[in-house]
């Protein structure tokens, strides 16, 4: 187990180093950096959605909360001219506050009903953005959300450059993932998984289910709002369609293909599927078909997702080794 942990730490550090060095490797190629930024956003979204899953349910309102973050930040920037550095915390706070208010009645529902109720919330959020034209810009969305500038220690960084924004997105993505990883490894995470495994039992050993559900939902939406603010200032343009149900569905697909049991799942899923998605972009509609086939095949033939591959490889290797060692023993039993 310890050796396995060490291996995991090494490989994740390697991934992080590779991500940090990516701009150098790809020779500051704008397209690859754009893909990198998209991957960072997708990972942040999928991981925060996975945090809700650790309590045993799936929220389809997640993209909606990302939208709340994006709109808050965009409106504060275009109306008041506040910089992203202030806005993103306010955006995340706004998403968390709305999540907190909504989640208290929402948590009365369970299983499929929760899934549907959260779906309704996501859709309402999107339609409200679309309906109030004067305030939210309607279906046309909001334009000119400029990336921020930063000057510290006499160093001036303009985040309109792809490389700078790539590092910004990477830092926040890593922070979100790390926060969720620590949360999952802590006592709180254990409580969440116990609620996942058996709600009634958890209640009987004295866990306040409602409190934990509300807190987890709020925290996840906080991260989604943060991601949304970063998203808005990167794309400089947002409209309600960006934050509709499909965004949540894609995040869910990332989690399912990646794996449901550890935080590695959403990361791997978002990473690999975003790359595959970009590679298939020239094929048009076939890309979506391919996506669908991947999802169905994963669910039917590899229900644990991509994260189970290392374990499978390890057990295969072990089996192979054992077979070789035990071959003479087998021969003896055969002759007897």
């Amino acid at each position: 187990m310890n050796e396995k942990n060490k291996l995991a730490t090494i490989s994740w550090s390697l991934v992080l180093i590779l991500a940090l060095l990516l701009p150098v490797f790809c020779n500051y190629d704008k397209y690859i950096l754009h893909t990198g930024i998209s991957i960072a956003f997708n990972i942040a979204l999928a991981t925060s959605m996975w945090l809700i899953w650790t309590l045993g349910f799936v929220s389809f309102a997640h993209a909606g909360f990302m939208g709340i973050g994006a709109y808050t930040s965009a409106l504060l920037f275009t109306r008041l001219g506040w910089p992203l550095w202030v806005n993103m915390w306010l955006a995340a706070g706004m998403a968390a506050m709305i999540a907190l208010i909504i989640s208290i009645p929402l948590m009365r529902t369970r299983a499929v009903y929760f899934f549907m109720a959260s779906w309704a919330i996501g859709e309402v959020i999107k339609r409200i953005f679309a309906y109030y034209r004067e305030f939210f810009g309607g279906w046309d969305g909001i334009f000119d959300i400029l990336p921020p500038k930063l000057s510290i220690f006499g160093l001036k960084i303009d985040f309109a450059s792809r490389v700078a924004y790539y590092y910004l997105a990477l830092v926040f993505c890593a922070l979100i993932v790390y926060a969720i990883y620590r949360m999952n490894r802590s006592r709180t995470g254990m409580i969440y998984w116990s609620i996942h495994e058996g709600e009634t039992l958890a209640q009987h050993v004295g866990i306040n289910i409602l409190k934990h559900k509300v807190i987890a939902f709020t925290v996840a939406c906080f991260f989604a709002g943060l991601t949304g603010a970063l998203y808005a200032h990167y794309h400089t343009y947002i409209n309600p369609k960006t934050f509709d149900i499909w965004q949540s569905e894609f995040s869910l697909v990332h989690i399912i293909v990646g794996g449901l049991n550890t935080v590695a799942g959403p990361i791997l899923g978002a990473l690999i599927l975003t790359i595959v998605d970009e590679l298939l972009r020239p094929t048009g509609y076939y890309r979506v078909i391919f996506f669908g086939i991947i999802v169905i095949l994963t669910v039917l033939f590899m229900p644990g997702g991509l994260e189970t591959i290392p374990d499978k490889v390890r057990s295969l290797v072990n089996k192979f080794r054992n077979n070789r060692k035990e071959a003479p023993a087998d021969a003896v039993t055969y002759h007897r």
């Binding site: 339609r127 890309r287 078909i289 169905i296 994963t298």
Partner: protein
């Protein structure tokens, strides 16, 4: 609001409500009996409409036969999907069936865009003309289609209440273990229910396709409506689906006319949210674990 607008809205509401109920009853059957999330229900609705389009508008074969053909083809497709994809997932976490049906949405709707093209098409009307009722214009076509949906729903109700197969289906939806102890072949009931639900969606697709236009992406709208209705009425409840269908139909008809389509959506979802908060299993639903 004048009387004629009111009558117009009521008639449209009834018309929409019946067709929404038709889609939703199919979904609620699948839900209640198999206990999976069939998120791709609207895609079968779309395919059903296209079968009728190719049958009637392209091949010029008879209209009503086309509806039957569409129902039969989608029934077979539904059974195939159930046996291949959904049977292995029975009894597992609902997330898996959600994922598989999501994959189906991706495949079918994009496949539709490739196969059928992105052009908006229409199925030509079979009955022309209309009549004024209290100052509101109501086409004969809408009348025939509403009556047809009502008859279909009544027939389904009779089937579920009176025939052996229907009673077996309700038994499985009530308690799978006990009904299989009583000699009900639950596997058989599962594929029949799935096929039947899909066929109902296909028929609804044919009827709605005749009244409105058809595009390969229209499936998602149907899924959305069907889910709203089913959740409102409660999973597995046919009566709930009928009532929910009328609620959503009336909200759509009235609010779209008076204010706007966005408000109709918002109010529809608000209605669901409020119902779920006060009755967490819908109006008439079963509570799942």
């Amino acid at each position: 609001m004048s009387l004629d607008t009111f009558t117009q809205m009521t008639l449209t509401g009834v018309n929409l409500g019946l067709m929404y109920a038709l889609i939703a009853i199919g979904l609620t059957l699948i839900f209640g009996i198999m206990r999976i999330i069939q998120y791709a229900h609207g895609e079968l609705f779309m395919l059903g409409a296209y079968v009728l389009y190719y049958w009637f508008a392209v091949m010029k074969w008879p209209y009503w036969l086309g509806i039957i053909a569409s129902a039969v083809i989608i029934f077979i497709l539904g059974v195939g999907l159930q046996v291949l994809l959904f049977r292995p997932l029975h009894g597992k976490n609902i997330l898996y069936s959600l994922a598989v049906s999501m994959g189906l949405i991706f495949i079918i709707s994009s496949g539709g865009l490739i196969g059928f093209g992105t052009v908006v098409r229409g199925i030509p009307s079979i009955i022309k003309g209309g009549v004024f009722i209290f100052g509101a214009f109501f086409t004969y076509e809408r009348m025939v289609i509403s009556t047809f949906s009502a008859i279909l729903i009544a027939a389904l109700w009779f089937f579920l209440q009176r025939t052996t197969l229907g009673i077996a289906m309700r038994a499985v939806s009530e308690d799978p273990e006990v009904s299989s102890l009583q000699g009900v072949n639950t596997q058989r009931i599962h594929w029949i229910a799935f096929g039947l639900g899909s066929a109902l969606a296909a028929v609804a697709g044919c009827l709605m396709g005749t009244l409105m236009s058809i595009v390969p992406t229209m499936g998602f709208m149907a899924t959305m409506k069907a889910f709203m209705i089913v959740i409102m009425g409660g999973l597995g409840s046919v009566v709930g689906a009928l009532i929910g269908g009328f609620i959503i139909g009336f909200i759509d008809s009235f609010l779209t006319t008076i204010i706007s389509a966005d408000v109709a959506y918002i109010m529809g979802f608000m209605a669901i949210f409020v119902i779920l908060v006060f009755k967490p299993a819908g109006l008439f639903g079963q509570q799942w674990e």
